[in-house]
């Protein structure tokens, strides 16, 4: 019988040194130095990585942990991975037999989704770091997205268990005391459709971890163990204070945010869910215990990503734009219930874990808006609108593949119209220019333009969504993962909703099929993939939008005459 009692997750509060002994200057210098060590690690990874997913899409996380698995520093990469690696480190170490079974030169590979929070393609390399006398001083770890790890398809929206999603490495030593474990390495290569890329990216993760370890050790040695430890505690306390000072400004209370998934990938039923944000003084509880049961399709979000989604939401609001560490997470506790969509148990499918996770970030803002509407923006398109393509080139018979997230309109806030960019969970990622796509893929992009009337109306309007038309010049398979096609992005404070996302294939004969979530769908030559990304929600009563702003939007063509007359009659 599975215990379904809700579980509370907290950040590390253990102490390794004495913050009171730390001087404030050394604390600031140590903080800089640890962030720089994480940045050096990231640069080494990006420099040596083979696949664009790493060096262009930045689909990775790079972080340094102390022996208590508390986050010391994380380099800017995919925000969705913020504060997620401690779970990988904990589980990876536990699974190889604990710290007593770890030795200098060991490197562990780990990708069990319920421990990483991700799909199996996101594989973590964990590297224990030792001082010369053999004392374990912490870990460097990198979780990176591998192009392929031998699931049923290169990218899936219809898996029914984790075994269809990819090969599992449940915590295995790829390096033992500095020696490559060749048996494991050959298995890695055998279990990928693109072994060369996987080999290259694994190597980049190893190099990154080593560079990080050297820089990290250098920091500890520069200050000496004791001064370093004291400074780390003072750094954590400081981060905690920063975040708490923000939440003290939000009135105490229990606020409910509502979200809804379009479907679970297998059936078309909508999946409404709620996250409760409870604020008491400067303590914040994010309660996911009342969400739906584990789904039969891959939209389950394992606990580590439920927690990192919470951490992203909080850090973006209360972290003052700084790189996060464990202290920033201390004011936050996350509650989940085993056996639910946000706390799935093995072997529940979770290939699309990221979709509920990224929506949860905005659902948390939806809840906070009920306390302080001006503290957060209205909803964005609410999705990364991913499309993955592959096929065999007609002329050469060579296989090809590509894939990308796409920007949507962003929500307006009190004081600003929304822009158009990728979802906040992928805020540093860039998508490819059309000319780069066309130079390598059998495509012609017919259109990439802001969509008129897609922006939610308001005193401040949402950012417009985008219409993409990709014309295939050869037969192509696609997998699409586009959520929030059934609901408008919400407005706030009286603002209206934006246009929802949509994805369709238009065949040469004019027939059009909607494909928000599809796996291995054949798009024949001359058919067009039409992706219409959502517009951001508006903020504030549209009647309060100044006439000049409406006229400017009309002149620019963001909105049409009829849209303007309907939502902004004051301008006429």
């Amino acid at each position: 019988m599975i215990d379904r009692t809700p579980v509370t997750h907290r950040a590390g509060v253990a102490r390794s040194g004495n913050a009171a002994e730390a001087d404030p200057i050394t604390t600031e210098v140590v903080r800089h130095a640890l962030n720089s060590a994480a940045n050096q690690m990231k640069r080494a990874l990006v420099r040596t990585a083979f696949s664009p997913v790493i060096y262009e899409v930045l689909d990775f996380a790079v972080a340094i942990y102390d022996p208590q698995m508390r986050l010391l520093a994380q380099a800017p990469s995919l925000p969705m991975f913020m504060g997620t690696l401690n779970f990988c480190v904990e589980e990876a170490v536990k699974n190889v037999g604990g710290v007593d079974n770890l030795f200098p030169g060991d490197m562990i590979m780990y990708n069990w989704p319920y421990g990483t929070g991700s799909h199996p393609q996101d594989l973590a390399v964990v590297n224990p770091v030792y001082l010369e006398d053999g004392e374990l001083i912490g870990y460097t770890a990198i979780k990176g997205h591998w192009l392929d790890i031998a699931g049923k398809d290169p990218y899936c929206t219809d898996t029914v268990d984790v075994f269809q999603e990819g090969t599992i490495y449940p915590g295995v030593k790829i390096y033992k005391r500095g020696e490559l474990n060749d048996d494991i390495y050959r298995m890695v290569l055998a279990n990928s459709r693109v072994p060369k890329f996987v080999a290259g990216d694994l190597n980049a993760q190893v190099v990154g971890c080593r560079v990080g370890a050297a820089s990290f050790l250098d920091v500890v040695k520069r200050f000496g163990r004791e001064e370093y430890r004291n400074a780390v505690e003072a750094m954590f306390d400081h981060g905690e204070k920063v975040v708490r000072s923000y939440f003290e400004t939000i009135p105490d209370g229990r606020y409910v945010g509502h979200g809804e998934m379009d479907s679970n990938g297998i059936t078309e039923d909508r999946i409404p869910f709620e996250v409760v944000v409870e604020i008491k003084g400067s303590d914040v509880t994010l309660d996911f215990s009342n969400v739906p049961e584990t789904q039969g399709g891959p939209v389950n979000c394992p606990v580590p990503s439920t927690i990192s989604a919470s951490r992203v939401a909080i850090s973006m609001l209360a972290g003052y734009g700084e790189a996060p560490h464990e202290g920033h997470f201390r004011a936050v506790e996350v509650v989940t219930r085993p056996g639910t969509m946000f706390h799935p148990l093995p072997p529940a499918p979770c290939f699309l874990y990221g979709w509920p996770a990224l929506q949860a970030i905005e659902v948390i803002y939806n809840a906070i808006a009920k306390a302080l509407p001006k503290a957060v923006p209205a909803q964005s398109g609410g999705c990364i609108c991913s499309v993955v393509y592959w096929g065999t080139r007609a002329a050469t018979g060579e296989p090809w593949a590509d894939g990308s997230p796409h920007p949507t309109g962003q929500g307006a806030w009190d004081g600003g119209d929304g822009g158009t960019m990728l979802h906040i969970s992928e805020s540093a990622t860039r998508f490819s220019p059309v000319e780069v796509w066309e130079a390598k893929n059998p495509w012609i992009v017919d259109r990439m333009a802001l969509a008129q009337d897609s922006c939610g109306p308001g005193q401040w309007r949402g950012g417009p969504g985008i219409d993409f038309h990709f014309r295939m010049t050869e037969d192509t398979f696609i997998t699409t993962a586009v959520e929030r096609t059934k609901n408008e992005p919400w407005g706030l404070g009286g603002g209206g909703g934006g246009r929802p996302n949509g994805a369709a294939v238009r065949f040469a004969d004019g027939r059009k099929v909607s494909v928000p979530k599809t796996t291995r769908f054949l798009v024949p030559k001359d058919a067009v993939v039409e992706l219409s990304t959502g517009g951001g929600g508006g903020f504030g009563d549209p009647a309060a939008r100044p006439k000049e702003a409406v006229e400017k939007d009309l002149k620019a063509g963001y909105i049409s005459q009829s849209f303007a007359r309907k939502h902004y009659p004051q301008a006429f």
Binding site: E28, N35, N39, P79, G416, V436, E438
Partner: protein, 674 residues
């Protein structure tokens, strides 16, 4: 050799250095920058510091300026119209989807340089291989032109999709605009950049159109003023990718100068590295508001081919100089969590640090240095007398907030600033797979020599070279800027003999294009070429120099592949077994300036009385007596602790360090073995 004058405009000061070929002397000067009329500052510097006879015989005037950059940053430029392919009017606004501040929920992309109603479409489409998918709908050009003329745009940028592969439609649209009566400037994307990536190419083209008129007016005014002063030589301006170009050419291709601000320093550093045979050198240019670091490997700065200004990409070669917001003016403050931070806000030129006595009350890094005695007894060469009491008064509130003495707080401000600078240098080095400990530090800029031993100690570096004229080093670097012209074109093709032949055809066209811009006259020129190469399927590429015979590549495809793999291994630590493809072809023409003499050794001052002041030693963590020594008097090696003064900067030499004057007037600082 040739007499030449270099003037570099900074945010606070306009620096001048001239070299007189007759006497072999290099002379420096400094005047305040005139923000609203920068050419007036230049004229003041030249007329105030250069004898008329030298102006008249000078063959070159070399100029570094941020006029174009400022026009862009302050959005003071032309009203630009943009004509693009149907379906793509929003390329500038959609960008690449990323956020400049990744943890900022409220970040929004800046307004594009061209508003949406001025971005118009024409019917046409070229494919990536240059074939025409949809012929130009000529009838669609007239309404676009009319709309732009009704809006009275000053200039029009034409940026069509895949125009890098086939410019026919861009050229035809240009002709139609002229036929339609448009007389303003027209910027064609394939001429401005020639590289693929429509957002980046459009951004570059629009930047060019935006700054062109302003830049051209400035250069014309300045040139006229120089002629009035008696100058008869060639006026040159620095390029972002190093080297210089004539004013006339810069009026045509202003975007090539936009990122040239910190280039002169890096260029000077390469010259020093070559002169002294230094293999790996890292610069530390510390000014009032920013810190710039650049790697110089084997005497060459690192050049990148795409840069960013104010979140706008620009496809032009630029010297890889990394900046962080940390400098002499950086202000120490207390954050919401109660920790002390330093910068990025700066006291700037006005009010400046508190100790300058010009009304500043917040504690800047310079105040901390002054309080600690690191700037000597207080008489700065620029005529300012330091007010130590004001420095202390500014630091005191911050000290109280963190519960420390003023002395400890002041050392803290310097430690925090030094650590962020050192971190930036570590990161630049790691990116190239290098360890800073094995490099030489080259500090310059007003506050570089102040920070030199602190930075070296942070990075465990044991060798520092303080160049001559360290406080005016960027202007000195200008004097060595050869004339350079370059052009590039993207054409993706599998590397093989056929591709080499196509690359040669492209090179011939690019060199012809460059020659058409020319004005290097009878000067001897050196041609060079690079191929951007990558493994098929990869996005990132490496630019590899290829040998030339005349204007053609003198290497087989196999040899090119070998040099690519060697470079790839150096950069990324391994090679792949994938096929290699050419992405772009780059052509460069260099017309070297005549060599100049290197006698920059300052004359020794007679009978200067030596003083000693109690200053803080970071090595010993306490105040020690520091000797105050004018740089020019250092004959025998000088052991620290000492404060070494010169006319435009102050060098802080901590204990454990020894300074010796080298053969070219440089000071070599070495750390004693621990």
């Amino acid at each position: 050799m040739a007499t030449r004058i270099g003037v570099d405009i900074g945010g606070t000061f306009t620096d001048l250095v001239y070299y007189d070929d007759e006497t072999g002397e290099t002379v420096e000067g400094k005047v305040p920058t005139v923000p609203h009329a920068p050419e007036e500052g230049v004229v003041a510097a030249v007329s105030g510091h250069v004898p008329r006879a030298v102006i008249e015989k000078a063959e070159f005037f070399l100029h570094g300026t941020t006029v174009g950059l400022n026009a862009l940053l302050e959005r003071r430029g032309a009203k630009v119209g943009l004509i693009t392919t149907e379906g793509f009017r929003d390329v500038l606004e959609i960008r690449r989807g990323d956020r400049a501040e990744m943890y900022n929920l409220f970040w929004k992309q800046p307004e594009p340089l061209v508003a949406r109603h001025l971005r118009l479409e024409v019917g046409e489409r070229v494919r990536a291989d240059g074939t025409v998918f949809r012929p130009l709908d000529e009838a669609s050009v007239a309404p676009a032109l009319k709309a732009l003329m009704d809006e009275r745009v000053d200039t029009i940028a034409i940026c069509l999709i895949n125009a890098y592969a086939n410019p026919a439609h861009e050229l035809r649209v240009e002709a139609l605009l002229r036929e339609g009566g448009f007389t303003g400037g027209i910027s064609l994307s394939h001429k401005i950049s020639g590289e693929y990536r429509e957002y980046e190419r459009t951004s570059t083209t629009v930047i060019d159109a935006f700054v062109r008129a302003r830049m051209s007016n400035y250069l014309k005014r300045l040139d006229a003023r120089l002629r009035e002063l008696g100058f008869k030589g060639t006026s040159l301006i620095t390029r972002s990718g190093s080297g210089s170009m004539t004013f006339t050419e810069a009026e045509e291709r202003p975007f090539e100068t936009i990122m040239s601000g910190p280039v002169a320093g890096a260029q000077g550093a390469s010259e020093v590295a070559k002169m002294l045979g230094i293999e790996a050198l890292i610069t530390a240019d510390v000014g009032g508001t920013s810190f710039d670091a650049a790697l110089i490997l084997n005497g060459e700065p690192q050049v990148l081919y795409e840069g960013t200004i104010d979140n706008m990409p620009i496809q032009t070669p630029w010297v890889d100089v990394r900046s962080i917001g940390s400098g002499g003016g950086s202000i120490a403050h207390i954050d919401v969590g109660g920790l002390m931070r330093v910068g990025p806000r700066s006291a700037g030129a006005a009010p400046g640090p508190a100790c300058y006595g010009k009304g500043g009350t917040e504690p800047a890094m310079t105040d901390a240095a002054a309080f600690l005695g690191m700037l000597g007894p207080g008489r700065l060469a620029s005529g300012i007398t330091l007010d130590f009491a004001k420095a202390e008064a500014a630091i005191a509130p911050v000290a109280a907030a963190i519960g420390q003495e003023v002395e400890a707080t002041a050392t803290g401000i310097l430690r925090i600033a030094a650590s962020s600078m050192a971190n930036a240098m570590r990161e630049v080095s790691v990116e190239q797979g290098l360890d800073p400990r094995r490099m030489v530090l080259l500090p310059f800029g007003g506050a570089g020599p102040l920070m030199a031993t602190l930075l070296a100690d942070e990075l465990k570096m044991t060798q520092i070279v303080v160049p001559p004229l360290a406080g005016n080093f960027s202007a000195w670097g200008l004097l060595g800027a050869d004339m350079v012209q370059s052009a590039a074109r993207t054409r993706i093709m599998d590397l093989g003999e056929e591709a080499v032949a196509s690359a040669n055809a492209l090179l011939a066209a690019l060199f012809a294009d460059i020659a058409g811009r020319g004005e290097h006259g009878a000067r001897e020129t050196v041609l060079s070429a690079r191929l951007d190469l990558r493994y098929k399927g990869q996005e990132h590429w490496l630019s590899v120099e290829v040998p030339l015979s005349g204007e053609a590549i003198a290497a087989t495809a196999e040899e090119i592949a070998e040099s690519f793999e060697a470079e790839y291994r150096r950069a990324f630590g391994g090679v792949m077994s994938e096929a290699i493809e050419i992405v772009s072809v780059r052509a460069t023409l260099r017309a070297p300036l005549p060599r100049r003499g290197q006698s920059t050794r300052p004359a020794a001052e007679e009978g200067a009385e030596e003083e000693t002041i109690p200053a803080y030693s970071f090595e010993r963590k306490t105040r020690l007596p520091f000797r105050v020594v004018p740089r020019a008097t250092i004959a025998a090696p000088l052991k620290g602790p000492a404060i070494i003064t010169e006319s435009t900067t102050t060098l802080y030499l901590d204990a454990e360090w020894t300074a010796a004057t080298g053969a070219h007037g440089e000071l070599v600082l070495t750390r004693s073995e621990a």
